[in-house]
């Protein structure tokens, strides 16, 4: 087991390197120049050249890339072009905002989705099934920024239950922090529940048709037990894959939610950095997200055999 994990992590190294290299060169291909963004509409060619030199952007690209890699290998992610902050601590700081939101939301979505999805599949083609699928689809068709703003207006502005802005770190005031992440978690959970319900339903439908379910039923095993012992573990496996994907996706990509709810998270950091062409931050975020992906997917693959006994992790 430990050997497998270690091997998987070693295998992930090329992925990380590939991700780092592609983001580095992709961002340099994209037009736009941090020096220009700093100097704005008054940029004289001399001032741009001076600033580029000061930022180390005047050197050949491969040299810049290798220098960056060398420093990263030593644990130094460089400093933000925008505000001079060290990128390493910055990433951890922002991740501490994004992670609880995403974990809570995906957890809630899964708790909501699996029972409903199984129920819909069990009662396939019934009214309950059609209703579940309809609701799931409606959830799917709502953009998070839209749903988020509606919730913000209702609960923040009209009812005044939660502050509209005002993130505080958990370490400082857990109660207020809970308030601040409540709406984003609800919004995300609702939006993500849509897809998870459909996945859970689909895989349950699959499993219900398998011979051993018919067997179990024929042997007179109570329906509840069939669902719990035979259907759930098998139906949950594909849903788990999707949960892993959703989780990884969200950890890097909830910029929209973080904008609506004014959360200083990783997604917002990435978007701001992209717009500011803050290369060290973009590269740092990218590497960080890639690492999280590797870990989340490793976790999913390790969990897979638990639910689907036909597959071994190795």
């Amino acid at each position: 087991m430990a050997g497998y994990v270690l091997r998987r992590l070693l295998v992930a190294l090329p992925t990380l390197l590939l991700a780092a290299a592609s983001v580095f060169f992709l961002m340099r291909l994209v037009p736009g120049d941090p020096a220009l963004l700093i100097l704005g509409d008054a940029a004289t060619p001399e001032a741009v050249a001076d600033l580029r030199a000061a930022l180390g952007l005047d050197r050949p690209l491969p040299v810049q890339f290798l220098l960056w890699l060398e420093r990263v290998a030593a644990g130094d992610f460089g400093r933000s072009i925008t505000n001079g902050e060290a990128v390493g601590p910055l990433l951890l700081d922002r991740f501490a905002v994004t992670a609880p939101v995403v974990l809570a939301a995906v957890g809630a979505a899964a708790l909501l989705a699996v029972p409903f999805g199984m129920l819909a599949a069990w009662k396939q083609d019934s009214l309950a099934d059609v209703a579940t699928v309809t609701v799931a689809t409606l959830l799917l068709s709502m953009p998070s920024f839209w749903l988020g703003l509606i919730l913000l207006l209702v609960f923040g502005l009209w009812l005044g239950w939660v502050p509209v802005v005002g993130w505080v770190p958990f370490a400082e005031d857990p109660w207020r922090a809970l308030h601040a992440i409540l709406l984003p978690v609800v919004t995300l959970a609702l939006v993500e529940a849509g897809v998870l319900i459909r996945m859970a339903r689909a895989s349950t439908v699959e499993v219900l048709r398998l011979d051993y379910v018919a067997h179990a039923r024929a042997k007179g095993v109570p329906e509840g037990r069939v669902l719990a012992r035979h259907v759930f573990p098998n139906a949950f496996a594909p849903t788990l894959t999707l949960i892993g994907l959703v989780l990884g996706n969200l950890l890097g990509g909830i910029a929209v939610m973080e904008t609506v709810f004014t959360l200083p998270g990783l997604g917002r950091l990435l978007v701001d950095a992209i717009f500011a062409r803050d290369y060290p931050v973009i590269q740092g975020v990218m590497l960080f997200i890639a690492a999280i992906y590797v870990l989340v997917n490793l976790a999913v693959d390790l969990l897979y055999p638990v639910f689907d006994p036909r597959v071994t992790a190795d």
Binding site: L18, V133, L245
Partner: protein, 269 residues
């Protein structure tokens, strides 16, 4: 085969959306990009059935032409994502070994690439166009398809009938096509119809962040994104594209479920 309710409802909804798109190709009540500053943000009326937007453009006409753009972009993206994802997933899941490892590394790299970064890069290289969006979102979603396919294949290839097919001396390719691929149809159909929705919404989110299909061409996504500031003053601006997206998604998903049931290889058995 009995007539399934989801087939009927799904087909009707999607048929409606396609009919709207088809109609827009030949006729719209007004010019969808014609602005008129003297009639901005009007509520629905006899002349403008769904009112006008912040530039005084007719919402109904934009909704109709938006159907063409949105459906084309979403469908093209799904096709790109499916082709890429199926190829990677099947190869990786079935062949395993070093092929799986290399493809897995590529796939993970792509997965780890945030969609917005991909969109920005490709749009910058290709110029702002809808095909840039298609490629960017297609690339962004392909690894998801690949992972789901690979997961399914991993679990199928251990089954007795796959072993049996091999034991009977059938070639790997035959076994793959005859016994493995059909089992991926169900999860992939579900995923594809979900993808259809995600793409429309992602396009909207890209618009919200300042990228997306270049205006003034209407898509439901950019209509929804630009309606957000007027959610209170002109609710119809958000409701109209929102309802179309919902109808389209509901239709695609119900139809997808029905199709899956019909296509399922074990149905006859």
């Amino acid at each position: 085969m009995r007539l399934r309710p989801n087939l009927v409802i799904g087909g009707t909804l999607l048929g409606f959306v396609l009919a709207v798109a088809a109609a827009a190709l030949v006729w719209t009540p007004h010019d969808p990009v014609r602005t008129n500053l003297r009639r901005r943000l009007r509520p629905p009326s006899a002349e403008y059935w769904l009112g006008t937007d912040e530039f005084g453009r007719d919402v109904l006409s934009r909704l109709m032409t938006g159907a063409v753009t949105s459906v084309t972009v979403a469908a093209a993206t799904v096709v790109v994502a499916l082709l890429l994802g199926l190829a990677i997933g099947l190869a990786g899941g079935y062949l395993r070994g070093w092929v799986d490892r290399v493809l897995g590394a590529l796939n993970d790299t792509l997965l780890a690439f945030p969609g917005i970064l991909l969109a920005l890069g490709l749009l910058a290289v290709m110029g702002p166009s809808r095909w840039g969006i298609v490629l960017a979102l297609g690339l962004a979603y392909a690894p998801t398809v690949a992972r789901v396919v690979r997961g399914t294949v991993l679990s199928i290839r251990e089954r007795e009938f796959v072993e049996a097919s091999r034991a009977l001396g059938n070639s790997e390719a035959y076994t793959l096509l005859r016994h493995v691929v059909p089992h991926t149809v169900a999860p992939v159909t579900v995923l594809a119809t979900s993808l259809f929705g995600w793409v429309i919404l992602s396009e909207s989110a890209l618009n919200f962040l300042g990228l997306g299909v270049p205006p003034p061409a209407a898509t439901w996504g950019n209509m929804l994104a630009s309606a957000r500031p007027f959610m209170l003053e002109a609710p119809m601006l958000s409701i109209a594209p929102g309802a179309m997206i919902a109808a389209c998604l509901l239709g695609a998903n119900l139809l997808g479920d029905a199709l899956r049931d019909i296509l399922d290889p074990r149905d006859g058995a």
